[in-house]
Amino acid sequence: MSFQEIKGTLPAGSYYFSGNEAVAEGAIAAGCRYYAGYPITPSSEIMERIAVRFKEVGGVFMQMEDELASICSVIGAVWAGAKAMTATSGPGFSLMQEAIGYAAITETPLVVVDIQRAGPGTGQATRVGSGDYMQAKWGSHGDYQVIALSPWSVQEMYEHSIEAFNLAEQYRVPVFVMGEEAVAHLRERLEVQATVRVFNRVKKHGTPPFGTDSMDGVPPMPAFGEGERLLVTGSTHDEFGIRKTDDPRAHARLVERINNKILANRGKIANTESWYLDGAEVVVVAYGFTARSALFAVELLRKTGKRAGLLRLKTIWPFPEEAIRDVGRSARKVLVPEMNRGQILGEVMKYARCEVSGLNQTNGEIIHPQRIVREVEAVL
């Protein structure tokens, strides 16, 4: 495996950064040296900081004509050897979906940061929402897998951005950092270490760039200009990239492998965090900013002797099924507060064999801890 510890791109120490600034710094620390994007609220500060910082660290920044061009140029740069990313918000994320499917079938490692705002449509551009999780999973046509992370703090906006690149490079898959306006514009203390652990692309010359012996393997990935004479296509292809547009076995083989390489490693990829789960009768399952409201609520409840706990989902896709199953076995009731109409509630219901209910809010504001306290108190 190609993990290595490299020197950071910021001096070690404490910073007072916004979530968006932290994303930019995390990406740069992970080795991102190509960024293409199009301005959109509430994500634009990411591209603004990248534009300035790439001048210092030597990266290529492109402000493209739209989000379609942004993500497509990112894919082009990745095949030219870059670690590359784009950042956007809901409307731009919608525009990028076709290219995300392309990245999935061509096994192109890339990072998309989606700073979620209140949708659908133009919605409330400056307000918060968490409505893009199902789009992250199912936004492009056909069957494929992605990885989606859900940071809850400025620290995690930084760390998840590094992690996103590491996962993308390990599994050759699009990885999303699913930020929310409330974390993107929050300023917090960020602790930066002197070194960063990064995964660099596995290259093996002369081996097939789109095939492995096993049905859940990740092939090595060479770049353009290295004399490999690569054939990259979004059409169904064999292990060498030759188009196979009417061979049923070739199609099934490719589709199964790009799904299996993620699903078979679900246990390694999917990450959760447990708070006060010991003896918890009611478990709140939450992610992103809402998990902070939930933790605050759970701590208030515990102070009054109420047996509440929190399972925080740091990874949304692949979905942490096992952790949810465990909670479903131990708790009497699971509550899922979300800034949407229950996108993850449905997933939790699939795996938790206990009473599960949602607490949904779609007003463009964060869920206040007191709402969660009241909801838990009603059943305890």
Partner: protein
Amino acid sequence: MQEIRQVRLCGYGGQGVVLAGTILGYAAIKDGKWVAGSSSYGAQARGGYARADVIISDRTIVFPHVIEADILISMSQPAYDAYSGEVSPKGIIFYDSGMISPKKLECVEQVGVAATSYAVKEILQKQSANMIILGACLRVAEVVTKSSFAASIHENVPERFREANLKAFELGWSLGEHLKGVQEV
């Protein structure tokens, strides 16, 4: 010092409320504290009323928004009217006494500082009022150290405004000296 302090600054857009919040938050980090800051964003921040919340704590902060302000710094009447009701019992309000007529509030101490008027007369720059009122507040309420705040001004304010901001902060700090035990300067 208390374990956690919730500070809210508010005023008109253009009074430098958001920048003041950033300077305060960064100063607290220099003091080794944990900090979470949020501010009004979007159309409001471009001319309407502005708000900056800063939570300062000795340990990591779970919920990063202000629930009840321990300290409210208000620089305009509409902002005062909007937020003076959300101050915690035993909280303290610093208001620009040239801009605001305070209401009677139970359990909340209120201190007037004629920040804008001092800014115009002493600094010859109306925009320095934010540093004056914050200087006075910090002297009285002891939120961050003076040296960290001055260093934070150095790092967060563009060079051409730096001297004026430091001077305004010093003026506010000295006004704060006289505030011990009085209601207005």
